[in-house]
């Protein structure tokens, strides 16, 4: 661990903190309908869809609209994948995608997971990349943000029947935030060296005289939304480690900022809309604590020497010629600190883009991305999903500990009663069901897909199911995911991880909106201070820890202790 690395991390944190109130203020304006500068496009869209923006929806109608919209998106994407061979802009002549993989991929992109059981440049043509993948990158991001907006309204309103209108929220988020930022962002990426063309792959001869195929295409237009919308599905198989996706340190920083921008900004929009900005900072504070601890743990574990190499006389100390530590699976341009930071960011935020292969991380370093996902993707989290996931934990934290102030628990003036607890519990249950339940099935019937023996092999499978259920989408690698069994099980995991949370969260929004807001008094459990931040972090860690400690002990922890004892598999 060196000063440059620490500086990189601190600069990144400072920039995120600076962006938060700006993005948050703008998001609040969008959610409240105060942003109007594109009204001339917005209104015709509503007319076209037959939506009257003034008539808000009950939470159940909101959920029904959302599910219908996502189902349509999934069917469209599935159709595009299956019909690829007949579609234009396919200079490499990519064939139709097989049904299990097409199902898996369609669910993956609609649920904002962007798990890829295929290689981008070897499986998809440009038309499908643009109209399938990129469109769902926007749609799934807008869906998540809309759910967050509905939940925020639930807490901000008192004795209300409605939580907003799904179509209006999705249109406004896309129109006022995602599209303009991505148009500008994509142009900046083109300027910084990311390709944007329809050319077939370039055949090149390397210095050694070998033949090389250099894939290209409309990369920049997909790249910005991939990070801003925490989608993470790469244009290329190597994802953000590919020099065309991530040409320089500056672009790397832009990518990482884009990943956190909306997730962090939403906490601030939340604070503004419930009328107490400190509430938003408290939520972000809890996220930041978990994030910073994870980042440094990851970096420290990977910067340390590999004990198995020590006996072989390998020099692993940092010196002017090498960074030291574990460089396996890393892009040399980024080094250990930046790779660790990116790995922490992408798993904390449910993005799933990668600049380093997580499979090659040291056991404890690999534990951190896994834990980030298994905590429920609430450390900043996916756009929208991070905030609503964390608010579910806030409801639980307030309920468990709030009783200890001698009142029935309340959060932001809303009483937490049986209905809220039931919904929160259903949302929390999605994670063990997806990761452990479907993962155990995958293990029992599909262990052949695992590449490595020993605890590391377990981590490979566990990571895949965690990534799918957490809607993260990053791969640990070392796992042959494209088998019919895993395609289907992982597809189900993504669906459970997405909709078994969204529906109860919307119901929670509805029931919170219907309750009157109780004014705070000295007897109210304060939820804006350090005490609440600590409590929230503790509840997130305890719930995640209690659920996943046994499998984590069998995977990364067992691997770590084995490595320390020089046991290799």
């Amino acid at each position: 661990m060196d000063a440059t690395g620490i500086l990189q991390i601190l600069v990144y944190l400072a920039l995120v903190a600076a962006l938060t109130p700006l993005v948050g203020g703008y998001l609040a304006r969008i959610f409240d309908g105060r942003a109007r500068w594109l009204g001339w496009i917005e209104r015709p869209i509503y007319r076209l869809c037959g939506v009257s923006p003034e008539r808000e929806q009950h939470w159940s109608a909101y959920a029904a609209s959302l599910l219908a919209f996502n189902l349509a998106g999934a069917l469209l994407l599935y159709g595009l994948l299956r019909l690829q061979a007949w579609l234009p802009l396919n200079p490499e002549g990519m064939a139709a995608v097989a049904p299990p993989l097409a199902f898996n991929t369609a669910v993956s992109f609609v649920t904002n997971t962007n798990w890829q059981a295929y290689g981008g440049e070897t499986a998809l043509g440009y038309f499908v990349q643009m109209t399938g993948m990129t469109v769902q990158n926007f749609a799934s991001a807008a869906t998540g943000i809309a759910v967050a907006a509905a939940l925020i309204r639930g807490f901000a309103r008192g004795s209300a029947k409605t939580v907003g209108h799904f179509a209006v929220d999705a249109v406004r988020v896309t129109l006022y935030l995602l599209l303009p930022v991505c148009v500008l962002g994509a142009l900046a990426l083109v300027w910084l060296g990311v390709p944007q063309n329809f050319d077939p792959a370039t055949a090149a001869v390397t210095l050694e005289g070998a033949q090389q195929t250099i894939a290209q295409g409309p990369v920049a237009s997909q790249m910005f939304i991939k990070h801003l919308g925490t989608n993470g599905g790469g244009f290329f198989n190597a994802n953000a480690a590919h020099p065309f996706e991530n040409p320089s340190a500056l672009v790397n920083l832009i990518h990482m900022l884009a990943i956190f921008a909306i997730g962090a900004g939403l906490t601030n929009a939340f604070g503004r809309m419930v009328g107490d900005v400190r509430q938003g900072w408290a939520i972000l504070g809890a996220m930041a604590l978990l994030f910073v601890a994870g980042t440094f743990a990851l970096w420290a574990a990977d910067a340390a020497a590999n004990p198995a190499f020590a006996g072989l006389g390998v020099d692993q100390a940092a010196n002017p010629w090498q960074p030291g530590g574990n460089m396996e699976g890393k892009e040399v341009r980024f080094g250990i600190a930046a790779s660790a930071l990116f790995a922490a960011v992408t798993t904390a935020a449910s993005c799933g883009a990668v600049v380093a292969m997580h499979d090659s991380l040291m056991p404890l370093a690999g534990l951190v991305p896994l834990v980030n996902i298994l905590l429920g993707e609430v450390v900043v989290g996916g756009v929208g999903a991070g905030l609503y996931g964390m608010l579910v934990f806030a409801v639980l934290a307030v309920f468990i500990a709030g009783l200890m102030v001698g009142r029935t628990p309340e959060y932001l003036g809303k009483k937490i009663e049986a209905r809220e607890i039931k919904l929160a519990v259903i949302a929390i249950l999605s994670l063990p069901v997806g990761v452990l339940g479907l993962g155990a099935l995958g293990m029992a019937f599909g262990a052949g897909a695992i590449q490595d023996a020993g605890p590391h092999g377990l981590s490979e499978l566990l990571y895949a199911y965690a990534s799918a259920t957490g809607n993260n989408g990053s791969a640990f690698a070392g796992f042959g995911a494209d088998t019919p069994l895993h395609d289907i099980l992982l597809g189900l995991a993504m669906g459970v991880g997405r909709y078994a949370v969204i529906v109860p969260v919307l119901a929670l929004a509805g029931s919170a909106a219907a309750k009157p807001r109780i004014p705070a008094s000295a007897g109210t459990f304060p939820t804006h201070g350090g005490l609440f931040v600590g409590l929230l972090v503790a509840v997130v860690l305890v719930v995640g820890g209690l659920t996943f400690f046994p499998v984590l002990a069998l995977g990364p922890l067992a691997e770590h202790f084995a490595l320390a004892a020089a046991v290799l598999y």
Partner: protein, 675 residues
């Protein structure tokens, strides 16, 4: 006032423990266990492990011990509930003794002389009964004819008999009380089995206890956690198989039971019953557990001025003579006028005059009592007269005064009113002498109690029929946050609705029939037992001692109940961390010896580690029974302070304690060679 409260049962009475132990076994009945999902799951697992132990095998001895301790865990949970119920029953029994199985004299009409004798249990609502001196009133009802003194000590513990009469606010009578003098006709207002006592006994006994809203929410959380751990444990063999580690089923079962929240699951209903119990100890009957819970949430307390904030009677504080009148003359006139006046005000005037001027008694005075028409009282003596009364009443008697004198009198009267007192004008032979200042005396210590309530986030509002000027002065002196002057039942109801509209929960107490709507509207309405039947029906609690200041205690009992529940939940969940560190290394040691590094407690063997965790899990329930029954200590403080302290004690304590506990048990298990 000699008040006896239900005898405080010692925390662990020997006879009670015996009954509770028997009850604990009886509660193993699956139909009763299923009410508590966590304990039901534990019993199921215990049955499975028992079957495993019966089949024998490698670890049969340890498996049998685990099975035994799992059953003990269930029994301990049942025992906690049984003890709480037993304590409730003991209190109910002392109340029930007052229940007469005597007969009642039923009459056809209030005027009827002839009666038929029927068993008291056969009376229905609407029946008329006649009760003469010496009779026990057979059921709750209203006096419809006559007036009588009634001994209510069986219910209230108050030894002095009270007057009950038809009409007005003192018409309600309670079954089980005894008529001391005279004869009344009572209309029975409840059907058999629904009287006050019946309801109260049912509640403290737990027979009719329904889960309160917060208990339901908590149970849902506990069920959710149980489901999570079910998934964790059920999927573990599949993952362990990859590493080639076979996991003994008995150990998995042990892991499951130690992880699910058995501590709070076992103690949950005991906490609820104990909360009702604490209220009964204060001689307050809650009609539902829901009301006790709501008490903890109260934000606004409406308190009647008289009797709650101030002493019931006003006290003479000073004599204010008009110019040209000696203070002694005024005092003497007031003294003479009050000698035969046995109202507390009158007595206080006599006392003040004696103290200031050492006046002596006089004979031959003709007392003129206060009447609603004259609105003054006084004496006639030596051919003259002295009168004292409200300003307008006296002025009406003395006729027009010369302007300077009228102005001066007016000034005195206003000064007294402004300071929160009541002015009483004294006139001798139709000439005003001056004003007596009757002062409302704020109860000692009440100011500090209001300050405490403010710290707890509770707003106090004083309700009074006084004019705003007087009310403001007393409100300031007593330190209440707000007041409602010139209160009428309608304005009271309106005030409650206003607060509730703003999302606040309101508590109040009342006794009159006209309080009934407000009592029903309030979130916590405490009816005084001396009040009317209508008031007692409208409120959701009844204070047997009719002490309005008790609202404050009721709020605290509600808070304590919720705190106990939260503290034990937090403790229970925090415990799981240590249990993982005990069981996980033990579980996988065969397949993955390197996981011994997680055995931070250095437990002797996998078998003893699992057994110790199970034993700890069972013993902690018993260890926490006293806390569940007594409740977490509640010191009024702002929420942030309470939370900080309780998180430290029950959160951090819950994290650390089991590490020490499991280690100690493991040492004992190893030393005894049990595993």
């Amino acid at each position: 006032m000699t008040v006896h409260r239900p005898r405080a049962t010692a925390l662990f009475d020997r006879a009670l423990l015996g009954t509770a132990a028997a009850d604990a076994v009886a509660k193993l009945d699956p139909r009763r266990l299923v009410r508590n999902p966590v304990m039901f799951a534990t019993a199921l697992v215990a049955a499975v492990v028992t079957a495993l132990a019966a089949r024998g095998g490698a670890d049969a001895a340890v498996t049998a011990q685990i099975a035994a301790w799992l059953w003990v865990t269930v029994l301990f949970g049942n025992f906690a509930e049984a003890v709480a119920e037993g304590r409730g029953k003991a209190q109910a029994a002392s109340l029930r003794r007052s229940r007469s199985d005597a007969s009642a004299k039923r009459v056809a009409a209030p005027e009827a002389e002839a009666f038929e004798t029927v068993p008291a249990q056969a009376l229905k609502a609407g029946d008329l009964v006649v009760c003469a001196a010496g009779d026990t009133i057979p059921g709750d009802g209203d006096v419809v004819r006559g007036i009588a003194t009634v001994d209510e000590s069986a219910i209230t513990g108050e030894s002095a008999p009270v007057i009950r009469e038809s009409g007005g606010d003192r018409s309600a009578v309670t079954g089980g009380t005894r008529v001391v003098s005279d004869r009344i006709v009572v209309r029975i207002s409840v059907d058999p089995g629904e009287s006050f006592l019946d309801r109260m006994i049912a509640l403290v006994e737990g027979a009719k206890r329904q889960k309160t809203p917060n208990e339901i929410a908590l149970t849902l959380l506990l069920v959710g956690m149980t489901l999570i751990f079910l998934i964790v444990v059920a999927t573990l063999p599949a993952f362990a198989a990859w590493s080639g580690a076979a996991v003994p089923v008995a150990f998995l079962a042990a892991l499951f039971v130690t992880l699910i929240p058995t501590t709070i699951g076992g103690l949950l209903s005991a906490i609820g019953i104990a909360g009702m119990d604490r209220l009964v100890k204060f001689n307050v009957i809650a009609k539902s557990g829901r009301a006790v819970e709501a008490a903890g949430d109260i934000d606004v307390l409406l308190l009647d001025k008289t009797g709650t904030i101030t002493l019931g009677a006003r006290q003479a504080a000073e004599f204010l003579p008009l110019s040209g009148v000696a203070e002694r003359d005024l005092a003497e006139a007031a003294f003479l006028a009050s000698l035969a006046d046995d109202t507390p005000e009158g007595k206080s005037i006599v006392a003040l005059a004696r103290q200031r001027f050492g006046l002596a008694e006089r004979q031959g005075l003709a007392f003129v009592p206060f009447t609603a028409q004259t609105r003054m009282s006084g004496v006639d003596l030596d051919g003259g007269e002295i009168r004292k009364g409200a300003e307008d009443a006296i002025l009406a008697r003395v006729g027009d005064l010369p302007p300077p004198q009228a102005r001066e009198l007016r000034q005195h009267v206003e000064r007294v009113a402004k300071s929160g007192g009541t002015p009483l004008v004294v006139a001798r032979d139709r000439r005003p002498l001056g004003v007596i200042h009757l002062k409302d005396v704020v109860k000692p210590g009440i100011r500090e109690r209001f300050a405490t309530l403010r710290d707890m986030g509770i707003k106090t509002v004083m309700i009074t029929g006084d004019n705003p000027l007087t009310a403001a002065a007393i409100a300031a002196e007593a330190g209440v946050d707000d007041f409602l002057a010139e209160a009428t039942p309608e304005r009271k109801l309106e005030l409650i609705r206003d607060y509730q509209q703003g999302g606040r929960l309101v508590a109040m107490c009342g006794d009159g029939s006209n309080d009934a709507p407000a009592l029903a509207q309030a979130d916590v309405g405490v009816a005084m037992n001396t009040g009317t039947q209508a008031a007692r029906e409208a409120g959701n609690m009844v204070d047997l001692e009719s002490d309005p200041t008790k609202l404050i205690e009721i709020v605290m009992i509600g808070k304590q109940l919720l705190m106990s529940r939260g503290a034990l939940t937090t403790f229970s969940i925090a415990n799981d961390v240590a249990k993982y560190f005990a069981i996980i290394p033990a579980l996988f040691l065969a397949g993955m010896p390197q996981l011994a590094a997680l055995n931070v407690m250095g437990l002797a063997s996998p078998q003893s580690a699992v057994l110790s965790a199970v034993v700890f899990n069972a013993l902690v329930i018993v260890a926490l029974i006293p806390l569940a029954l007594k409740g977490v200590r509640y010191v009024p403080a702002p929420a942030a302070t309470l939370l900080k302290r309780n998180l430290l004690v029950y959160g951090v304590g819950g994290l650390v304690a089991p590490f020490a506990g499991i280690k100690l048990i493991d040492m004992a298990v190893a030393a005894l060679g049990l595993a």
